[in-house]
């Protein structure tokens, strides 16, 4: 069964599959697939970039939702705590956040292990570090988007939920959340496109994403312009596809409004 799925995925591979971009147009050039060129390496990088962004998205959204909830609570202390969080992570450069998470987690785990009596070098997974750093940044931005969406929902909606005898969780799930998604979607679309671009920073800590793979290819083949051009083109294509797809989602979310 798994063999079937892997065969299906390799057949549908948009870059190096049987009907892939590189295998159709790139054979005989520097981006040929297999041993002849860099096509399959770059395709691997595309996979890493997309999976990093997709893995970050739910974590960041969930964290951002929690922070938005906390930021609109009546409790002053909770608001202060979230304010500190968003101020720090919206103010730091993404690259610096990545380094702080990457080296900081390493030092933290190493010191914890050292106190338990384990003396050895700890290497943290670059994918994990990248995911944590990007999720933290994404959550602090998405919390702002979600917070303003929360504020756009009138109080009457909550009161209506109370009047119907729904408890808080059900009011949130059945009444507030569907409207929240509709209002927040344009902002979240923007953040997703920013997240896709921010994944390029993980190439600096050694994760084999698009930019790192094309960078290696550029250094080996001495065709830097060509390979970085390919990298930019790939990011452009991913952004185009995702904004196209998210356009559909947005229309789907707004289907109740257009009927009116």
């Amino acid at each position: 069964m798994s063999g079937f799925f892997s065969a299906l995925f390799s057949a549908l591979d948009p870059l190096c599959g049987p009907v892939g971009l590189f295998s159709l147009f790139g054979s005989g050039t520097l981006v040929a697939c297999g041993e002849a060129g860099w096509g399959d390496e770059i395709a691997f990088g595309v996979g890493i970039t997309i999976s990093l962004a997709l893995a970050t998205l739910p974590v960041g959204l969930f964290l951002g939702f929690l922070i938005a909830l906390a930021a609109q609570s009546e409790e002053k202390l909770l608001r202060l705590a979230t304010g500190i969080y968003t101020t720090i992570f919206r103010g730091l450069p993404e690259l610096l956040t990545l380094f702080i998470v990457y080296y900081g987690l390493q030092i933290l785990i190493q010191s914890v292990l050292a106190s338990l009596g384990y003396e050895g070098r700890v290497e943290i997974n670059a994918f994990l570090a990248g995911m944590v750093a990007l999720a933290v940044v994404f959550s602090s931005y998405s919390s702002e988007v979600l917070l303003s969406a929360f504020r756009a929902i009138p109080r009457g909606q909550y009161e209506a939920g109370d009047a119907l005898g729904l408890h808080r969780g059900r009011t949130m799930r059945l009444i507030v959340l569907p409207q929240l998604i509709r209002i927040a979607l344009p902002g979240l679309t923007n953040l997703w496109l920013i997240l896709l671009k921010d994944t390029s920073y993980v190439s600096v800590i050694g994760l084999a994403d698009i930019l790192r793979q094309t960078g290696i290819a550029a250094r080996v083949s001495k065709e830097a312009f060509f390979f970085y051009f390919i990298a930019s083109l790939l990011y452009l294509i991913i952004a185009m596809i995702s904004s196209f797809g998210l356009g559909f989602v947005e229309r789907w979310a707004k289907r109740a409004e257009t009927a009116r």
């Binding site: 906390a70 009546e74 705590a81 101020t87 380094f99 830097a224």
Partner: protein, 276 residues
């Protein structure tokens, strides 16, 4: 006839209702304690790991890096603003070819990572050394600083063009018509009526763009420019002292927060004639 014979004796104010210890309150206190612990840990780290020698060696380098970052970003934003003018006007023009070119420029530069643009300019154009030497531009593309500046200018011009276009289009039609009714020429109407109103709308997005540029400028460290991030990486690679990153974080946070407060002061100040 009834009337009050005795006044009610003065009483103390009713007690404030006790604030219950809700879940939100506990969570808030817990997170604040966590933040305080973190801050205490960082301060302990700085005090415990204080090294006069390192401070004297890397302190001036950090200030140098700070200056590099600030000058790079301010030059990039100014040149980007100049470049964004023709792009914004092309984007608003009726000419479809011009409009398409401007749209493509904005789309491409906004949806590819700054890092990829920087690599494309520094390493990519750098590989055309003989051609660049023959046209006498090699001195420009040889220096990482100039390449960083160029990529920032191109990048921020795309963003600023969109900001400017949105702001100009947000000025209502009636303002154009009013100016025309007063017999003002298009040029004067634009300079005296449209642009001032548009710039007020654009003030906040411009502030955001400035912050984004400051944060984005950290990428030049990767192509060997010693800006704030570059000096940080240098100090860390020499000392393996985690404090290097903490100091950078403090500097960046200070810059961004200063900008945010300046903008928070500027905006009500510049829009005070709109308040009723």
């Amino acid at each position: 006839m009834t009337y009050v014979r005795e006044l009610i004796a003065p009483q103390p104010a009713p007690l404030a209702p006790a604030r219950p210890l809700t879940g939100a309150r506990i969570a808030g206190i817990a997170i604040l304690i966590l933040w305080a612990l973190l801050a205490a840990g960082l301060i302990a780290m700085v005090i415990g790991g204080w090294d006069q020698d390192k401070f004297l060696r890397y302190g001036p380098r950090y200030l140098n890096g700070l200056w590099t970052t600030l000058s790079l970003v301010s030059l990039a934003v100014v040149f980007g603003a100049l470049l964004s003018l023709p792009i914004a006007f092309a984007r608003m023009s009726q000419n479809r070819a011009l409009n398409g070119i401007a749209y493509a420029y904005v789309y491409v530069f906004r949806s590819t990572p700054l890092l990829a643009q920087l690599f494309l300019i520094y390493y990519g154009l750098g590989s055309f050394k003989p051609q660049l030497e023959s046209v006498g531009l090699w001195w420009f593309f040889r220096e990482a600083w100039y390449c960083g500046l160029l990529s920032f200018v191109l990048n921020t011009a795309a963003y600023q063009a969109e900001i400017l276009r949105g702001a100009i289009e947000s000025v209502p039609r009636g303002q154009h018509e009013g100016a025309a009714a007063l017999g003002l020429s298009k040029r004067i109407a634009f300079g005296k009526i449209i642009l001032p109103q548009a710039l007020i709308v654009a003030l906040r997005p411009y502030g955001n763009e400035l912050v984004l540029m400051i944060k984005g400028s950290a990428v030049v460290a990767i192509v060997t420019v010693y800006d704030l991030m570059g000096e940080t990486r240098y100090a860390f690679s020499r000392t393996f002292d985690y404090q290097a990153y903490l100091w950078a974080a403090i500097f960046y946070l200070a810059i961004v927060e200063t900008l945010r407060h300046v903008w928070a002061f500027l905006e009500p100040r510049l829009t005070r004639h709109l308040k009723r």
